[in-house]
Symmetry: C2
């Protein structure tokens, strides 16, 4: 079974955020939408371009009440070292979680057990800590964070409007569907 | 571990395609790129909008040498009945695989064991039958197939250009990266 509809399993971790080390646990995901963005390694190549790309969406996501976390199996110390030395990473203002115990990466089913690194997985998590979307790319294929805002809006709409669902390519203000006996076979 | 880098497990199934019932097995995936699009149910609501959306990308995907398959746990008989009666589904020209044994949905880790239906999962598979990308949305959130063509192009580029990788938001003709000792910490 996929992780859709599953609650994020317990974890405790350190993160680097805005010049400080902070604690993050699965409890922090309750009561607020979150995006988790896993990536293989600090001081690498595709990853900094993805984290910068995600940073460009951060303001729009925060406006929707979404908190953003990046995660790799590096330590929070390495995150700070990278933040200090990389032009792209120096722009990051969301929390950069260190997962050297590999607990979080394994809980999200994105740990490559052979390399000990996380796959390129992005997850949208609702205020109950339940996973609503999953997107994973192979190592050489950088992600595009620009569709995240739309996915979050659709997920939030469905949560706030029980009984309604969002068709393909739905955008805010667009038509939705209300599944019913009469609608069967009519679409 | 995620399914990234994993070979599609063996399956044999019937599909409805262009007015005929055809056989499809995992061997058909060898030697050609494929997209597998799982969805919960025929004669439903979000699903027809997604399959129509995918159909709109089919010509562009075929131009890239990609074959497209939709999959639900309905039978191939039901697919034909739906194709005959639904305005949106009547447009579908790619193969509609029936997976009543749930084998394929389970092999792709998108079978909801409680409902017996497949989650909204989209997979890009390379000519070795190996999964390169995964995207799964919760039931009420229709997918957007428009990013598939770009993802396929990136996956094909990486395969044809060993040693090079595609940064975030990469598009055909865009700059790529060649990971090396000298590039560490420079991005």
């Amino acid at each position: 079974m996929s992780l859709i509809g599953k609650e994020v399993l317990p974890f405790e971790a350190k993160a680097f955020k805005n010049g400080e080390f902070i604690d993050v646990t699965n409890e922090d995901l309750k009561g607020q939408w979150s995006v988790f963005c896993f990536y293989p390694a600090d001081f690498s190549f595709v990853c900094p371009t993805e984290l910068e790309d995600l940073q460009e969406q951060y303001a729009a996501l925060k406006e929707l009440g979404v908190e953003v976390y990046s995660v790799s199996t590096d330590t929070h110390f390495v995150h700070k070292g990278w933040h200090d030395s990389s032009e792209k990473i120096s722009k990051i203002t969301y929390a950069m979680i260190g997962d050297p115990s590999q607990t979080i990466s394994r809980n999200f089913d994105v740990l490559d057990e052979e390399t000990g690194l996380a796959d390129r997985g992005t997850f949208i998590i609702d205020p109950d800590g339940v996973i609503q979307t999953v997107e994973i790319n192979a190592g050489g294929i950088g992600r595009d964070a620009s569709n995240l805002v739309n996915k979050v809006k659709a997920a939030q709409y469905v949560r706030q409007n029980p009984g309604e669902v969002c068709p393909a390519k739905w955008e805010e203000g667009g038509e939705t569907l209300t599944p019913s006996l009469d609608l069967v076979g009519k679409i």
